[in-house]
Every structure is written in structure tokens, then in C-alpha cells.
Symmetry: C2
Subunit: 337 residues, 2 copies
Amino acid sequence: MSEICRVVVDAMGGDNAPLSNVEGAVDAVNKNENLQVVLVGKEEEVPPLLSKYTYDKSRIEFVAATETIDMGEAPVKAIRAKKDSSMVVGMKMVKNGEADAFVSAGSSGAILVGGQVIVGRIKGVERPPLAPLIPTAKGVSLLIDCGANVDARASHLVQFAKMGSVYMENVVGIKKPRVAIVNIGAEEEKGNQLVKETYPLLKNCPDINFVGSIEARDIPAGDADVIVCEAFVGNVILKLYEGLAKTLVSKLKEGMMATIRGKIGGALVKPSLKKSLKAFDASEHGGAPLLGLTGLVVKVHGNSTRKEICNALMQCENFKAMKINDKIKTMVDINEE
Amino acid sequence: MSEICRVVVDAMGGDNAPLSNVEGAVDAVNKNENLQVVLVGKEEEVPPLLSKYTYDKSRIEFVAATETIDMGEAPVKAIRAKKDSSMVVGMKMVKNGEADAFVSAGSSGAILVGGQVIVGRIKGVERPPLAPLIPTAKGVSLLIDCGANVDARASHLVQFAKMGSVYMENVVGIKKPRVAIVNIGAEEEKGNQLVKETYPLLKNCPDINFVGSIEARDIPAGDADVIVCEAFVGNVILKLYEGLAKTLVSKLKEGMMATIRGKIGGALVKPSLKKSLKAFDASEHGGAPLLGLTGLVVKVHGNSTRKEICNALMQCENFKAMKINDKIKTMVDINEE
């Protein structure tokens, strides 16, 4: 039997809290015998829900937290002030070694801030990037960073490239993942100041398989496995993916519904369209890890369902089993020699 | 009769040169009696083509240029060295007042460089932005800047907002266009250094209808008319639009072709899908003007067809008729008081 992985779930985070979070936890322990879950949340809400399900009682624990952090709250202030929130209590357990990972569908800002100030960075890691998997024509690519590190420096981007490579190779199973930097042209001399500084550093980096620049046009085609960018750009890419797919699909539907011929055809193609679109939905590809922390923190979509919470818990188990943090530490050590 | 608008067309630029460029020019003068066109290009290629068409001979002129600037050439070097290229010769005509506008499907980089160093900026304009129209659920929005101004300053973005407003109001006909700045959250305190600096300046700008931040997710829905951003981000948005639509469509087709039911339905929905997709094709919405120059420079897509060249010429006539540059000059004067 493999090592036990203990994950704290922020029971109060997300649009479907606490129901989806509790159900996802139950599913995960029923599916994966290496998982133990700690649900952190309100005494009056979580235990009564939990009592309705069947699972190995020794593998889901409840810890009470009286406060919650809402989506609209200023992250830094909320993390500081709400000491008894599900997020702060949960992250402290990771910090203190009482758990390996923390999963939340709550406020992204608070997760990013809490990850850095409560859980803390691995020594040598300059900035922890948020790295979601995005769908492509060929499968998935890791978009790193979509997080809080706006106005990053070149040295940060080099670490993102390395951490992203470790993740893609070990968690997603892609050998020698192709690393590219988001740029506005394919040539080495193109780009803004940050890209021009970062490009030669990536080119001379022995630990990664750097393939050069990638234009945004070629990201959906799957031309690279690890897409390195500064967080502002990463956020624009991730959100445009979401928004454009949504608008395009509604335009296509509208077009089909405009004629009788289209309506009949539309009814016939509906199942296949649904399947294709699902494969291309960014929220279908698990949680986004905040890499480079002493423990794992995973941000899942705010409207995550039972299935997505369960998948994120599996992802944590895989992360621990593959010893990602040990690999990141080794990588940082090599850098510092 | 309105004023005559004289436009130079780079006959040698683009994938379909010189044929589409010549045909587009012929169509434009046949459609719009205020247009005069100057085709600049190779003596041995352009006049023989032109002689095959019927049009008012007094309204299309040919000017010889022995050189061409290729897509792969370094822009600054090419503009400097190739004095007798169609691009340099054409832009000089605008500079010297022999023409009002210049249209090219050639190298974007060379167009951007040539626009600035040959045609030159309106006094007071700090940086000329490239501003294409992008399709949205509600029509089109102006994405400003997608050009060469990477690492822009806040004052540049404020000018983009103003010039973009003038363009949308007068050329596209949207009253009080809603101006938004691309950001990674809706709140004023969100963003990178540049956005944080620019936001209050836009908020306090009396000449525009500033509606705040826009997240990339909401751009395709058409939540703003003028989308202000720094060129690196604008380029990522424009190219991701292109790439994502392409990949999504091929995924949908692949999905439909996987079952017999889907194949039959697919045949039925094909015409309506084609129509919807065309409306959502960024290259269908005319050329991208480089705003803030003493004359107008319009960059059209490299694979522009006859129709697109013709549309870009119409756009130039409209630009002159609406006195956009006078309006930009007034705006700049107001700023400098």
C-alpha cells in the first residue's frame, strides 16, 4: 500500500458549498484508499450533511471553523482578520504538517494570499505560480502562471518553467514536456522587456525542453505542454478561453435555431457537440495547483461540483505519490549551487 | 459630392498579392465615387493585371516600385534599406500629402515601423496604436492596442482610450462608446502596475465614457466598445481569438463526424454554422487602422481577399469623411492645455 495522503477540504468554499464539497470528499475516500480527508467548516452545517453518507468513518474527519471568507472580500485583509475561517484553519493544518494538501473552491485571491503567507514557500522558490491545465486540440497544456504574481521578473518565469515541467512530467505523464514562452512573434528578438530577458535564460536552462516562443494563436492547437507567462497575461488567456468558447457556442446555437433545416440538424448533432465542448471546457481539467509551497494548495473552480472536488482530491494524492515537492526542492537546490 | 479620398494600396503586400489588391482597388472605385486609388508595385506585374478590368481610368493610378518587403524581414532594417519598396514609396506619398491613406496586407512589423517613421505621428500623440475591430456577441469592439507599443505607459493608454472612442463613435457609429481597460478582476485595486496607474486617469477623463475594468472572459460577450490594453496583451487577445475559434470549430467537426447521426446532422447544420462562424471571424471586420498618424495607415490581414481590400478602401473614405484626424488633433490639443 502506498503512503497515506491527508487533504483538508475547505467545506465552506464555492457556489455549491458545503454540499458538493462534502459529497466530493465522500466519493474520494470511497474511491481511493490512500486518501484521508479533513473537512473544515461550520459545526451546524457540515457534520449533519456528512452523517447522511456511507464511508469509512476513520477516513473523514471534521474540524470546526466559525467564519467564512466571501468572494468579494479583500484577500489580504480577510486572511489576516478571519483567523477562524475554514480557509485559515485549513491552511494552518498544512503549515503545521497535520495535512499534505488543501483544496478550496473559495475566493481565488484569498487562496493565493493564504498559500503564500500561511502555508509558505519552499526555500529558494521566489514566487508560487498558479498553474491550471487548459484543454487543447491534443489534450491539455499547463498554463503557468495565472495567479497573483503580476509584474513578475525573468527569474520567476524560469522557475515557473521548471516547476511546470516537473508537474507535467510527473502528474500528467508527459515525457520531456515542451516548454514555450508566450510571445507576440516567433522570433527570439520579439517581445516585451520581460520576454526578451527571459528568453535567453530559458534557452540556456539545461533542466527543461525549451522550444521557444509561442503565439497565443497556437496555444489551443497544443503546440507546447508548458506555457510560461506572467500572471496578467496568463489570466487573460485563461479567461478568454472561457468567455470565447461560451460566446462562440451560443452564436452557433443561435445560427442553427434560425432555420428549420438547422433545427433538425441541431437536434441530431447535439450529443456530439456536447461531448466535444465538454472536452474543451477549462473547468473540466481538475484543480489548479499553487506550485512551490511547502504543502500543496489546489484552487478549484468556484462552481465546482461533487465530481470536480473528488477529482481534485485524487490529484492531491497523485501529487504526493509522485513526490512533486521533493522534485521541486531538488530543482531549486541545483539552481542555488 | 463629398471630398475625394486618395488611397495608396501596397500592391505587393500579402499572400494574394498583387491579384487581390488590384481587384479590390477596382471594386472600390466602381462602388464608391469619392475614392481614388494609387497602386504601388512592380511595373511588370501590376499594370498588366490592371489592364484586364473595367473601371474609370482617371481613378486608379499606378506608381512603380522595384522592391518588396517580405514577411520574414526585420522591420526597422527593411524600412530603412528598401527605399524603393512598395511600402516605403506608398507611405512617403501619404507623408508628402499626395494621398490620404495607405493600405497594406504586407508585414505587420514593417507597417507599424513605417507608419511611425515615414508617415509620422500627429503632434502630441505619444504612440500610435493598432486598433482592429473584433467580433462579439453584440457586434464589434475596438481592441486598442494590438501593435508595436509593448511596455506602454499609462499616458499612452489614456490616449488609446480617447482615439478609440473617436473612432468607434464616428467610423462605427456607436454613440458614447463604453471604454474599459483589460484587467484581471473587476475591482479598481486589481491589476498590474500599469493598469493600477491607468485606471484613475481613465476614471477622471472627461472626454470618454469609462465603464471600468473588463475581464478577458467578458470581451467576447461585448461588454465594452473600446477595449484598452497594452500591445502585448492586445496581441495575445487578438491571436487567441483566432486560434481558439479555429481549434474549437475543428473539435466540433471531429465530434460530429464520429457518429452517423452526427454526420447527417452536420450536413444539415453546415450552412448555418458557416454563417455564424463567419460573423465571428476577426478577419471579416475590415482592416486595423494605425491611429494617431498624420495620415491614415491601415493594416489588413495577410491573406486578405479582393473583398477585404475593397472594404479597407471604403473604410479609408469613411475615415476621411468623418474627419477622424481633425477630431484626434482637437482631443490632443485639449490635453495639452
